[in-house]
């Protein structure tokens, strides 16, 4: 008879790790993609478009399978399931975040770029010191949305055999047959986690937001 609490705790940690990694790695990659799309020329724009359409158009479970089975077979090496989980969530999130970052950059781009050039900075410097600092702050509310989205998709991990929170719950139910309590309990855990993170994101936004720039809800 397994003690449920460590199981749940471990599952929760896994869920947390994947979702946090997904959001932040997704942001980093998404920013790179957005910049590549805006400034990289046609070739990159087309590549990036393909990337985005793939990750936004197919279910995450399929993406997990593709990275777990298809790619290793084609490229002839093995990847550990957990690594696949982290990777796919990050890549998936990046596809969405690229859109948010690109939107934020475009909103402020024209005039801020000209102002940056006017004081003698190069386009690159203006991008780094003027445009990105503003764009990234504008994007913060979209983060918390994205984070909710990712967290709600994490149960998909169980299809790879990864022991996340939902997998833990299923094991417990398998042993104790206490269906409603177990599933409701983890439902509450997910809910609490999402609520806390959203609150934190709100606070961060309040502190870091630029007076005078607000996104329309």
């Amino acid at each position: 008879m397994v003690d449920p609490f460590p199981l749940i705790f471990d599952g929760f940690i896994t869920t947390v790790e994947v979702s946090i990694f997904g959001v932040f790695a997704g942001l980093a990659l998404g920013t790179v993609l957005a910049l590549g799309d805006l400034y990289g020329g046609r070739f990159f724009s087309i590549l990036i478009r393909g990337y985005v359409e793939f990750f936004r158009g197919s279910p995450i479970i399929i993406q997990l399978f593709i990275f777990l089975y298809v790619i290793p077979t084609v490229l002839n090496f093995r990847i550990d399931a957990l690594a696949v989980g982290f990777m796919v969530f990050a890549l998936n999130s990046a596809a969405y975040q690229k859109g948010y970052v690109k939107g934020a950059v475009e909103a402020i781009f024209q005039d801020q770029m000209m102002a940056g050039l006017s004081i003698g900075m190069s386009r690159l410097q203006t991008l780094l010191h003027v445009i990105l600092p503003q764009a990234l702050r504008i994007v913060i509310p979209a983060w918390s949305n994205e984070f909710c989205s990712i967290t709600k998709s994490t149960p998909a991990l169980l299809i790879l055999g990864i022991r996340d929170l939902t997998a833990a719950a299923m094991t417990i139910v398998g042993q104790t047959w206490r269906v409603v309590e177990t599933y409701s309990a983890i439902a509450l855990i997910y809910l609490a986690w999402i609520t806390i993170v959203t609150k934190i994101a709100d606070i961060v936004y309040e502190k870091k937001k630029i007076p005078g720039i607000e996104i329309s809800a």
Partner: protein
């Protein structure tokens, strides 16, 4: 003979086939000069000014900053732009930085000064436009006039060879233009070389050494302010001035 700070020769800039903003324009501005460009809206004045600063690249013609030709290929435009100060009609301050931050940015990233020195010079520039008290405020917390004064400080801070101003007061509420004009007056007294696009006529009369009437892409007439207010030579300038005076009289 005074030093020529900037000159352009046979400058052309066209938008979308039909709109010729700059039609074979040549002019020069000497050290310490204050010249004012005025004319009907849509005539291309702002585009012309932006071309001079190479913020918009002209189609044809040459631009010289002191001895350096800016329009040849291979020129380091960033370095050149670092020697030109530009003030925008819509101000365009960096919203994520404080007043001080806005002025410091170029000092640190372009002139590569150290933190302390940049701060000193930034505060000095803010002092010149009398915005020192507001150094730690963000643009959104300040009025339009205050923001524009910071815009001027931002342009000044690098000690540029010349300052170009594109309708610095046009986007401001009337009560706020006064503070900006006062600031420009101070700069004029100090001998700053300035090329201003504006339709603030009384101000023009007071401080401009020369006024240039710009219409449909060309500099139609030039001369001291008095000439335009008493006896414009060209017909188009006459028409423009009459309409202007009629309007001001009505107000």
């Amino acid at each position: 003979m005074a030093n020529t700070v900037m000159r352009c020769e046979h400058l052309w800039k066209t938008y979308e086939k039909h709109l010729i903003a700059v039609k074979d324009v040549s002019m020069r501005i000497e050290e310490g000069d204050i010249k004012l460009i005025f004319g009907p809206s849509g005539s291309g004045k702002s585009t012309f000014l932006r071309c001079l600063a190479m913020l918009t690249i002209p189609d044809k013609g040459d631009i010289y900053l002191r001895e350096e030709c800016l329009t040849t290929s291979g020129v380091n435009l960033n370095r050149a732009r670092a020697r030109i100060g530009f003030v925008f009609q819509h101000i365009w301050l960096f919203r994520h930085l404080t007043a001080q931050g806005n002025v410091e940015l170029a000092l640190r990233r372009v002139l590569k000064l150290h933190k302390e020195e940049a701060r000193e010079r930034a505060l000095q520039a803010l002092r010149e436009v009398r915005m020192e008290e507001w150094a730690h405020h963000y643009p959104a917390q300040l009025s339009g006039g205050q923001q524009q004064r910071i815009g001027i400080a931002r342009a000044l801070a690098r000690n540029p060879d010349i300052i170009l101003l594109d309708e610095p007061t046009s986007a401001l509420d009337p009560e706020l233009t006064g503070e900006v004009i006062d600031t420009l007056r101070d700069l004029a007294k100090k001998g700053t070389t300035m090329l201003i696009v504006s339709h603030e006529m009384p101000f023009a009369r007071e401080i401009a050494d020369e006024m240039l009437f710009y219409d449909a892409g060309k500099i139609v007439e030039t001369g001291p302010p008095e000439q335009f207010f008493t006896n414009p030579q060209s017909e188009r300038a006459q028409k423009f001035m009459t309409r202007l005076i009629k309007r001001t009289r009505k107000e």
